[in-house]
């Protein structure tokens, strides 16, 4: 009995030590692609074409609704509802989440510092964990959620 407690206790202490001593990685920053129109000069007119101002946009990834469905039904519904029109047991309904909000929320677990106009977060909670590995799949998840919008 005492031996079992000692062995289990040792494993428990080792597990807690490894868990809490593992450095927490900072979430990868949202990649921003700057669309820059190169300044070109034409030999014939020799008039410089005015450069367009640099525009910051979230890098887009290919959309695959089937993949979005697969991820949504295997990962997101741990907290959100299977039907994204209604609240889940922990997370709110997702149909109103704009892509840029979902992108930051999934990767970092936090809302973006600057929210889109008119968008109000449904929860103040910090419960959502981050899923940096799903960064490129967020547009697919978003597309799947939107396909179910009522």
């Amino acid at each position: 009995m005492i031996n079992s407690i000692l062995v289990l206790g040792t494993f428990g202490v080792l597990y807690l030590f490894v868990t809490f001593s593992t450095p927490v990685k900072a979430p990868p920053p949202i990649r921003v692609v700057e669309e820059v129109v190169e300044t070109k000069t034409t030999e014939t007119s020799e008039v410089a074409v005015e450069a367009a101002p640099a525009v910051a946009v979230v890098e887009t990834h290919p959309v695959d609704i089937e993949k979005g469905k697969e991820i949504y039904l295997s990962t997101c519904i741990q907290c959100h509802n299977k039907d994204p029109n209604v609240k889940g047991p922990i997370g709110p309904e997702l149909v109103d989440a704009p892509l840029e909000v979902m992108q930051v929320k999934v990767v970092t677990g936090r809302y973006p510092e600057v929210l889109p106009e008119g968008f109000v977060p449904k929860r103040k909670t910090k419960q959502m964990r981050k899923f940096p590995d799903l960064e490129k799949d967020v547009p697919s998840i978003h597309a799947y959620v939107q396909s179910l919008k009522k």
């Binding site: 868990t19 741990q78 609240k87 922990i90 909670t125 419960q127």
Partner: protein, 233 residues
């Protein structure tokens, strides 16, 4: 290499696994005591009954009470981590409402085990040992047996809605309005549960006397508690 188990989510999962393991050990023995052992003890002769109390019951009670301890401690740890993450929004989620009712039932069950059932059972085991050795029966034993039975039966009744709410907290979504206030629903459900617990301490067995009765009462309590939550939320 990222190891999923060595994260906060992994820690909650490890605690959940301990919660399941010890919970099965605890509630499995609770059902054994109430659904199997009680009927067996009523049928056998006194010497067999004494032998069972001396050799069988202590072993079963060890797993029973330490299972309860493991379930309670892992549950408190899990709830602390998950509750801290949800913060002020905790009671505005289905998770918060269901787990609060389930945890209240589970906590009272845990207290019933350690503060009522186990102390009374120690008296019964000591009495069986004395009688088997040719000593005089302890009159206290006849008094504490029904008290232990009432607490044990109450735990069976509580376990039925408790298991439902434990599962529902992550797998059933209530339609909670934005301006929801948890006071009324938690107040009413808590009062009902505390009244039943008061009966477990000072009251009577009533319909909990039979196995059929306690299962029906557990199902009835589940319907009432869930109905109250749906109506008030």
């Amino acid at each position: 290499m990222d190891v999923a188990l060595f994260t906060q989510e992994g820690l909650v999962m490890a605690l959940r696994w301990i919660h399941f393991f010890s919970g099965i050990a605890w509630i499995g023995h609770l059902y054994y005591f109430n659904f199997v052992q009680g009927a067996f003890m009523a049928e056998v002769d006194a010497p067999v009954k004494n032998q069972a109390f001396m050799k069988l019951v202590p072993k079963a009670l060890w797993w029973f009470r330490w299972g309860a301890m493991g379930t309670f401690l892992s549950g408190v740890a899990m709830l602390s981590i998950e509750g801290a993450g949800l913060g002020a929004d905790f009671m505005k989620t289905s998770y918060g409402i269901f787990i609060s009712v389930g945890a209240l039932l589970g906590t009272l069950m845990f207290l019933n085990v350690w503060l009522i059932i186990w102390p009374k059972q120690k008296i019964l085991i000591a009495n069986a040992t004395t009688v088997a050795g040719g000593g005089a029966a302890n009159p206290e034993a006849a008094k504490v047996a029904p008290q232990a039975l009432l607490a044990s039966r109450t735990n069976v009744m509580f376990s039925i809605p408790m298991l439902f709410f434990m599962g529902a907290c992550r797998h059933l979504s209530l339609n909670i309005p934005e301006d929801f206030s948890p006071g009324p629903v938690m107040g009413v459900t808590t009062l009902l549960i505390l009244a039943l617990e008061l009966n477990a301490i000072k009251g009577k067995l009533g319909p909990l006397t039979t196995v059929k009765g306690v299962i029906h009462c557990g199902l009835g309590l589940l319907v009432v508690l869930y109905g109250l939550i749906e109506v008030i939320v």
